[in-house]
């Protein structure tokens, strides 16, 4: 990276808030996904003003900027190439306000997801979206990716919980979208920004809804001797008239990994389990627990357990939320996917994943948000073995194609990033993508902010549609995909 840019960055944020030595940069060359690339410099802004000055510098010098939260993302959204400045938001980590009366929290982007709930809980409120990485991932990253989590089945994803944003645009301008009110006059630019994967601007202040903690919670564990029965139960529950707060599935392989890891009482011999959570008023929860237990039993669950204590409940969830890490016991590396399918297609898709697993001789564990039809197949492999690595990508692609074939999507909550960018043309037409690019150009005309993420290269569209008004070709060299 040009040393004049490093000097300018140091002038903006101070020398201690810029990293440019290779050994420091190494820590920022990966996120939770599989791609790797070392940025040119890492800079830690501490205010919107800092971000604005950095963006102005970047615009003037045409230097790409890649924002990063905690680096837990799974789609390569925070991977920066060597010419790029990585904008690490970790030091903008203050909860600015817990406004109980208005049921809102105002936070900086580097605040860790769970900290919002922890700060609100003493007032009887919580922040609903709960990605498995919620102890580490940041609200800024959640906004970029429109993150979900197990409890989004009833409560919705990040976009349903963000009402206001302060955003720094690529030209350095600081703007507001929405505020503390649930909505406002004019275009819903706050809603549109969520999930834009850092390609529209950098959120520097985020207003989120706080939700009243439920009076009662029941957590059920339904145990199955066959994956198919568990999958069929998912369909039956959604048709029973009950919307659980969470409806998660783990297959037998994952159950064993998880149980060895946390000792939560998951049955080692199960073919699959469903982890079902019901929340609300006491009376509602009791009634729903009965209905759901009956549905599970009717759908051939061999046993339905209910967590008797809060500790037992927490342990079951700890197992679920650390499931990805738990497979570390079984293989040196894993590749996870995030496909979504219509709920009725869950059984057929799982059967297809099993076939793909056998075809490539790779273990594929399944742990996922069954109620939403949001799959997370984990393909286990040894990254030192090039053949296995290649097969893993092939198997992953086949799973993604299966989801598309069943009328689904390539990503439910992890984002497109670098990883799934080239799948976009399979679910969107050139016209769809062209419209998205036009909109991106309204925010980020030179594509200096998170270039080459989410939407495939311009040339893909240009070949077909010809030059666009104001269209700019993205920088050509990039992170290999």
């Amino acid at each position: 990276m040009d040393s004049s840019i490093i000097r300018a960055l140091k002038k903006i944020v101070g020398a201690e808030a810029v990293l440019d030595r290779p050994e420091e940069l190494m820590l920022y060359e990966y996120d939770g996904g599989v791609e790797k690339s070392r940025p040119g410099a890492v800079v830690f802004p501490q205010s919107a003003q800092h971000v604005s000055e950095i963006m102005r510098l970047a615009s003037a010098t045409k230097t790409p900027v890649v924002p990063r939260g905690a680096g837990t993302g799974l789609s390569g959204g925070a991977i920066a190439r060597k010419e790029a400045i990585m904008l690490a938001m970790a030091r903008m980590n203050k909860i600015l306000e817990i406004d109980v009366e208005n049921q809102r929290a105002v936070v900086q982007p580097g605040v860790v997801n769970l900290e919002v709930t922890n700060a609100a809980a003493k007032f009887g409120y919580y922040y609903a979206p709960d990605p498995s990485s919620q102890k580490a991932c940041t609200i800024g990253g959640n906004v970029a990716e429109n993150s979900g989590g197990p409890h989004t089945l009833a409560m919705g994803v990040t976009v349903n919980h963000v009402t206001g944003l302060e955003v720094v645009l690529p030209d350095g301008k600081i703007v507001e979208f929405g505020g503390k009110s649930q909505d406002s006059c004019g275009l819903d630019l706050a809603g549109f920004f969520v999930g834009s994967e850092g390609t529209m601007g950098v959120a520097t202040k985020i207003t989120v809804k706080l939700i009243k903690l439920p009076e009662a919670v029941a957590t059920l564990l339904a145990i199955y001797n066959s994956v198919e029965d568990a999958a069929n139960t998912v369909v039956a529950i959604t048709q029973s008239g009950v919307t659980p707060a969470a409806l998660e599935m783990l297959d037998g392989f994952m159950v064993r990994c998880v149980e060895e890891n946390v000792h939560a009482g998951y049955p080692m011999d199960a073919a699959a389990v469903l982890l079902i959570e019901l929340e609300g008023m006491k009376e509602t929860v009791e009634e729903q627990a009965e209905i759901v237990s009956a549905v599970c039993t009717k759908a051939k669950a061999r046993e339905v357990r209910r967590a008797k204590t809060e500790q037992e409940r927490q342990l079951l969830w700890l197992g679920r939320k650390t499931a990805f890490g738990a497979v570390g016991r079984a293989a040196p590396a894993y590749y996870t996917q995030d496909g979504v399918i219509p709920r009725t297609k869950v059984p057929a898709t799982l059967a297809e994943i099993e076939r793909i697993s056998q075809k490539y001789g790779l273990i594929i564990g399944n742990v996922f948000h069954a109620g939403d039809g949001n799959l997370h197949p984990l393909i286990l492999f040894d990254s030192r073995d090039p053949k296995q690595t290649e097969d893993t990508h092939k198997a992953g692609n086949e799973i993604m194609e299966t989801c598309i074939r069943f009328g689904g999507s390539i990503t439910g909550e992890h984002g497109v990033g670098l990883e799934k960018k080239n799948f976009m043309p399979q679910i969107f037409t050139e016209d769809d993508l062209e419209f998205m690019i036009r909109l991106r150009n309204a925010y980020n005309p030179d594509s200096i902010l998170n270039p080459q993420k989410m939407i495939p290269e311009m040339r893909f569209c240009r070949e077909i549609t010809g030059p666009l008004p104001k269209a700019k070709v993205e920088p050509v060299s990039g992170v290999p995909v």
């Binding site: 009110s181 406002s184 549109f192 016209d431 062209e434 909109l439 008004p469």
Partner: protein, 451 residues
């Protein structure tokens, strides 16, 4: 041009059809041509004709909210969506539905009811309003309290761009972050960015029974205190509506006014009846409803069930239309407030309205800040155009910071004197940049929306 469009949609589908010219006018502006395409592709072809000639296109659904917004600069083509009125796909097991934009909401909803499913949505005039129109105007009703707006359950949208291409965002699955969330952008854009041709929704199991508890209070302060107590309780009703003393006058079946220019209450409205109401709708089993009864206790003045309950909520949804049916010159505003902004906004209303000879009637979502405010002109003194303008700016000046309030309905003559959309916390320059990107020639709804 007419011939070209007739070649696209068919001779029979060009022209006013069953509608009178008065029904087709938007704030007094008559469209040059009316076209009713049968598909998104036909709609796109019509838009291409318009784009080539720089003609202004206004989309039209059920004509329930066409008077919202500024007076159109002109309308060359009124593009009706009513022929695109079918359900594309519906699988009850998936809890998703895909429909074409010209279907009425009620028709879509009725098909869900067979499976004990619903879209928890109760804006006004749903048997006339189309899905496309409701999305475009981001219309809401009392169920917004628990379920949010259409933005919270629209999972995919197909639309015609200003270039005359068919494009889409989202998909048909309930959770999806592939690509930009175009649903959020297009919902509430009042047809200024694209013409919605198809939409996909997630649907929900429908509650088997509900009950409504109506609590009376002798002042706004007491009603608000009750709301604050309720926030601390575990109760989770699906509606929480605040109703001002004058509003119940309009919670009944619409009766045609004797003379629409005159205020004709069924009984003379006296300031004396200063009762504020909070209506709370609960869903659940007998046990759950018993809990509500127990916890709310003596606060409950009236309980409603079954047909009475349905009718009450229909009246609440239709409040603004009932006001307008009785008083052609009434003005209606929608507010966007914080929770704590509700009381100051109502105080502001009570101050601003009488200053300009309006009687204020308000109801709305006490916990989301979405109020529907009616300014009813006094019959003794028909308001002048400037009176509307002054009243609006007087009221807006009294709103807490961060609030916004648009004028939804008012006489078109008054619209020339003020900005119906008002200020908003969202950056307007960015909105304009988005509009330019989506519709560079400004052919969609020119002059009507904020951008």
């Amino acid at each position: 041009m007419e011939r070209e469009i007739a070649a696209i949609v068919g001779e029979a589908h060009v022209g006013p059809q069953e509608l009178t010219s008065a029904q087709l006018e938007i704030n007094g502006v008559a469209p040059g041509l009316v076209a009713a395409p049968a598909s998104a592709q036909e709609a796109a072809a019509v838009v291409r004709v318009a784009a080539e000639r720089n003609l202004v296109v206004a989309p039209a659904g059920g004509f329930t909210k066409q008077d919202i917004g500024g007076v159109p600069e002109r309308i060359d083509i009124l593009l009706r969506t009513h022929r695109m009125n079918t359900v594309e796909t519906y699988d009850p097991g998936d809890l998703t539905v895909s429909v074409n934009a010209g279907i009425t909401f009620a028709e879509m909803q009725n098909k869900r009811a067979e499976h004990q499913q619903w879209l928890p949505y109760d804006a006004a005039k749903l048997s006339q309003a189309t899905v496309g129109g409701l999305l475009a105007t981001a219309a809401t009703g009392p169920l917004k309290h628990a379920f949010g707006g259409l933005r919270d359950f629209c999972i995919g949208v197909q639309f015609v761009t200003a270039e005359g291409k068919v494009a889409k965002g989202g998909g048909r699955v309930v959770k999806n972050v592939a690509g930009y969330d175009l649903m959020k952008l297009i919902i509430g854009s009042y047809g200024s960015l694209a013409i919605i041709t198809q939409a996909n929704f997630k649907v929900f199991p429908k509650p088997r029974q509900t009950e409504t508890f109506i609590c009376n209070f002798s002042s706004l302060a007491e009603a608000i205190q009750f709301r604050e107590r309720f926030f601390k309780s575990p109760l989770t009703p699906i509606c929480l509506e605040i109703i001002s003393p004058y509003a119940p006058e309009y919670l009944n079946d619409p009766q045609p006014a004797k003379d629409p220019d005159h205020y004709t209450p069924s009984q003379p409205v006296k300031q004396a009846a200063n009762t504020w109401q909070i209506a709370l709708r609960a869903a659940g089993s007998d046990n759950v409803l018993a809990r509500y009864r127990r916890d709310l206790g003596a606060a409950v003045a009236r309980e409603l069930q079954g047909a009475d309950e349905e009718q009450f909520w229909r009246w609440v949804s239709h409040f603004e239309y009932n006001v307008l049916a009785k008083h052609r010159n009434a003005m209606v505003m929608y507010t966007h407030l914080t929770i704590q902004g509700v009381a100051p906004a109502i105080h502001g209303l009570e101050k601003a309205a009488p200053d300009y000879n309006f009687i204020p009637a308000v109801l709305g979502r006490a916990a989301t800040g979405s109020l529907v405010i009616a300014f009813i002109p006094l019959s003794v003194d028909p308001p002048s155009a400037m009176q509307y303008a002054n009243c609006v700016s007087g009221f807006r000046a009294l709103l807490p910071p961060g609030s916004s309030a648009e004028v939804a309905h008012c006489p078109k003559e008054a619209k020339l004197h003020f900005d119906v959309w008002g200020t908003t916390p969202t950056d307007v320059a960015m909105m304009q940049a988005v509009k330019r990107a989506a519709d560079p020639k400004n052919i969609f709804n020119r002059g009507r929306f904020i951008v």
